[in-house]
Symmetry: C2
Subunit: 191 residues, 2 copies
Amino acid sequence: MDLKLGCPGGLYVLRLGHRPRRDKRITTHCGLVALALGARGIIISGGHDEAVVDSIRDVADRWHVDFSADLAGSWEDVVREFKDRGCLVVHLTMYGVNLPFVLDGLKNAFRKRGILAIIGSGKVPAAVFEMSDLNVAITHLPHSEVAALAIFADRLFGGVELLSSRSRGLIILPQHRGKAVLHRISQRSSI
Amino acid sequence: MDLKLGCPGGLYVLRLGHRPRRDKRITTHCGLVALALGARGIIISGGHDEAVVDSIRDVADRWHVDFSADLAGSWEDVVREFKDRGCLVVHLTMYGVNLPFVLDGLKNAFRKRGILAIIGSGKVPAAVFEMSDLNVAITHLPHSEVAALAIFADRLFGGVELLSSRSRGLIILPQHRGKAVLHRISQRSSI
């Protein structure tokens, strides 16, 4: 696996234990959330599933956002690679410390070193808790890795992705009612 | 359908267009996110699916959280019922206005009237845009109704659900490593 990371830094997401039959939609949602909320890429470990990677890349292409989606055989290798690059490895889990208590530190680490955020599926191996620099809870109730990632990224970036779009292609013009889309490249608009 | 709403107010979620075969897991995630992030209940419209409601109620029971999960035949009836009760109806859509610009107003409306947040699935009927009091975007990129709901609720409640748990049953004790669970009712702990 060659992740072709241009430089250290930024937010990357590692999705654990993907099961091609069962998790296709949830993993796709994880990828699209990572893309929309400001991450640079997602790495999917578990069952080999080209289709899920393709569907995430498709959205990135269509919206002209620089975002990578990759498959990884072993999550341990990914964690080691990011640690070697100096990234902080953060595991999102309901058993971890409350996000607000560590958010300042996370923002600092993000600016200086970059962050790899790990999100699980069913059963997360104990080694994930141990190899991560920090285990962080997005509430202490069981809900959704999609939601945990969304809130983590939104808080990490201080809501900036809610204010302006990453898209360099289609631009949505915010509306109280209805839909308005600007095709930035062709300067054609459809309202 | 009798929603048995005790009083107006609070946050309720209306999940549109549920397809029992395709959406079971995504809709369950929506329900669990609503539960974990402070909503009072979720109403699911679209295909009739007792199993999805049961699985959400199961989690509410197990964690001793007051949270309702109901099926509704027609989303229009639900919207009308909430409007009659004075609730603000907010549709989460990438075509809407940016959340930060309307957040103060939403917080006010929540305190005084309560909010019904509508989240879609595939194609959302134009009438949803029209019947909603406000169409609000959680980024202007396509990602996930699970994530949109999570960020909306987190921002609406100002992060309070990240600080303390709604659970009156099992209590997770935040840990840097590993898992610690306190059985509040029996005062038995397993660390």
